[in-house]
Amino acid sequence: MDQLFDVSLFASALRMLTPILLAALGGAICARVGLFNVGLEGLMLIGAFSAIVGNYLTGSIALSLLFAIGCTLAFSLLFAFMSIQLQANVIVVGIALNFLALGLTTFSLRAIFDVKGAYYDKNMVGLPKLNIPVIEDIPWLGGVLSGHSVLVYASILIVAALHYYLFRTVSGFRLLAAGENPTAARSLGIKVTRIQYGAVLLCGVLCGLAGAQLSLGNVTMFTEGMTAGRGFIALVATMLGQSNPLGVAGASLLFGFMESLSIRLQGFAMPTHFTLMVPYVVTILAMLFFKDKGYMQEARKSSGSSR
């Protein structure tokens, strides 16, 4: 068991969960304004790709992050425009954007780098790793918490900031209102559409960061379809965390931890296929404790009482 639960397990969990967490936070914001964003996978992929392009073009980490954010912003603007302005079914838009992102990144990989499948340059520099002064010297904790990429720490700050924003600020309050009862919010002169746009764009930023963490943090390369389903896991984390930043963080943590654990379990005489299942099985088991609202309440909300 020592072998299972060692420092590197927790450190690895932290790295694994960061992209999921960032994207899931984006998904949560969208969910809060009533837009269920299935396109997280695509947005993340665009983020991962554009971070690498930014790095290639500018050679600067800060600029490549900005570039990644810019690209995902443009992409999420498309999502917003289609689903808010043109009233398209959000789920269709999400799925279509996933396809589009995959096609676009693969296409651009060829158009920009003239390679297929992956772009890798051993001289490319990834996100800087931070050693946290005091903590790094604490025996166990230092190994787990110190020495990760800036975005790992940033994601923790973002959780706190988002929590503060949603539940403590006026603008966050209005965002919640726009999601809870858009008709009522509109009748009070709250610019619901503008808020929805804002939420989707914020989601774009977060997915951009998630992608950058993947392509410049976890590794330093871009490979086709490198999100490998993490966007969907993020979606699950969003729902499991009930679109609450802290809840989402908890769900992502569970997932990151289980994924790292599942890797380790491969050594323990269980067929790999089953160890790979572990995170999903555990998530389902965890759902036993996070009961859904139940259809009665759902229906009550959507059918709207005649009062």
Partner: protein, 499 residues
């Protein structure tokens, strides 16, 4: 003249909701707007509130022409509206609901404490007490209505539009609301009040404007008119006063014993309720909403499992049985909340009409659509349901017309037992008359009816026996002869029966 609306016409395609309507409002006045369902009251007010734009006509505020592109404009000009359907955020607190849109803040932070203080201050000033920290979803409808009005007042409205504000309130809540309105009017606020309840209009209004089919039939001073005249102006004909024949009692059709529903709260929602309904009688249940009526109905209809107690219907034990079985045993059910239980908004009139009738309308599981349509068409005709066609979606019907459809559907069951919950909520006088007549005729044909209504006059008018519920129990029983509004009100508030 504070407000003038002149020659307002509003068309939706080929429907003209308002035709050359003129309407004005004085400062400090309570001006009632009445008319049948679909007469155009809400439309007129939506135009005033900037939610719709008129096809033609002019609005003047303090003599100056104005035009509102959005509710925000209207709010800025001191016009506030309490909508026919609540515009609240159930998961937010009372204070949050009131200050939303103009939140007190510190830097970017939302100062919830200041909001609560402001709410308490406002509530005190206008005499409408609320708990600022309570979630609105957990408040009674009366309090929710109060929150709506406080919200409008917080926004600084001078002209307040109330669209059917008393539709769901209990008599006591109605009294409190009307008192509050009067007080506010005395303080200089002006009100436009839409209601189908002529009694309360006669009580508070200074002037009354009547709409019929989108046109004004007249504006009268409240002191110069009476309910009969108003009804005539609205409907365009005399209404007949229904006489109630003596009850010819038959067998017990429904017998419930010791029904208890615990729920998650400390107090049980339903606490050992026993009652029976015999063939040929209407048993009315009165009570302030939230005292277990909803739970009682849901248990009887099979939508909620009781923790204790038994229900017998037409001699069969149906305790905890499925809705299907209970309906099979002879239940029809006009639900208390038509949008929640009564219809699927996305489905059309026919589809909504055949719920519960599919057994008779099918053969080997195949639905006979032609038969279904002619059945529903007949109801639409008989009850005067105003609908574009049988394929119109339910969400496009006005509430009153939807209610007529539901009543028709349930009466057509020809079942021995009928639950009629709020059968005329939000329904105009003409339609109310039809529904009341139908209920009484069912009773006369030896039907057993359990009537639940927050409308005391309705309970008094229709019931042969009246039960009053308080805190999940039956607080008292009165016969039609001995029941008066005072006695019932006392029981409803938890007092002892005095007669």
């Amino acid at each position: 003249m504070l407000l003038q609306m002149e020659g307002i016409t509003k068309s939706y395609g080929n429907v003209t909701a308002n035709r050359n309507v003129s309407f004005n409002l004085r400062k400090g006045e309570i001006h009632a707007l009445v008319g049948e369902n679909g007469a155009g009251k809400t439309t007129l007010m939506r135009i005033l509130y900037g939610m719709e734009s008129q096809t033609s006509g002019e609005i003047k505020l303090g003599g100056k022409p104005v035009s509102f592109g959005s509710p925000t404009d209207a709010i800025r000009h001191g016009i506030g509206m309490v909508h026919q359907h609540f515009m609240l955020f159930p998961s937010f607190t009372v204070a949050e609901n009131i200050v939303i849109g103009r939140e007190p803040s510190r830097a970017i932070g939302f100062d919830r404490k200041a909001a609560a203080e402001e709410t308490t201050r406002l509530a005190k000033r206008f005499g409408m007490p609320v708990d600022p920290w309570k979630r609105v979803g957990e408040c009674s409808l009366g309090v929710q209505q109060r929150v709506e009005i406080l919200k409008v007042l917080y926004q600084g409205a001078e002209i307040i539009i109330l669209d059917e504000p008393t539709g769901v309130l209990t008599p006591i809540e109605v009294k409190e609301l009307l008192a509050a309105i009067k007080e506010l009017a005395r303080q200089g606020k002006s009100f436009i009040l839409i209601s189908h309840k002529l009694g309360e209009i006669m009580e508070v209004a200074d002037r009354i404007t009547v709409l019929r089919d989108g046109e004004v039939t007249g504006t009268v001073n409240a002191s110069d008119t009476g309910e009969e005249q108003l009804s005539r102006m609205m409907v365009g004909r005399e209404l007949v006063q229904l006489g109630r024949s003596a009850a010819a009692l038959g067998e017990k059709v429904l017998e419930a014993k010791g029904l208890t529903v615990r729920g998650s709260k400390t107090k049980p929602l339903l606490d050992g309720v026993s009652l029976n309904v015999k063939a040929g009688e209407i048993v009315g249940i009165a009570g302030i909403s939230g005292n277990g009526q909803s739970e009682l109905l849901q248990v009887l209809a099979g939508l909620l499992q009781p923790d204790e107690g038994t229900v017998e219907l037409s001699g069969q034990d149906v305790t905890g049985a499925s809705v299907q079985r209970i309906r099979g045993a002879g239940l029809a059910h006009i639900p208390e909340d038509r949008y929640l239980w009564g219809v699927s908004k996305e489905a059309d009139v026919t589809e909504n009409g055949i719920m519960g009738h599919t057994g008779r309308l099918s053969k080997n599981g195949i639905l006979r659509r032609g038969k279904a349509r002619s059945m529903v068409a007949e109801w639409v005709e008989r009850f005067g349901v105003k609908t574009g066609s049988l394929d119109t979606k339910a969400q496009h019907l006005s509430g009153g017309n939807l209610q007529k459809l539901i009543v028709a559907r349930e009466l057509a069951q020809q079942s021995p037992f009928l639950i009629a919950a709020e059968p005329t909520r939000g329904v105009d006088v003409g339609a109310m008359e039809i529904i009341h007549a139908e209920l009484l005729s069912k009773r006369d044909r030896q039907g057993a009816i359990l009537l639940v209504s927050s409308e005391l006059t309705e309970v008094l008018k229709l019931s042969d026996r009246i039960l009053v519920m308080f805190e999940g129990r039956i607080a008292g029983e009165l016969t039609a002869e001995e029941a008066t509004e005072e006695k019932i009100s006392l029981l409803m508030a938890g007092g002892k029966a005095v007669g």
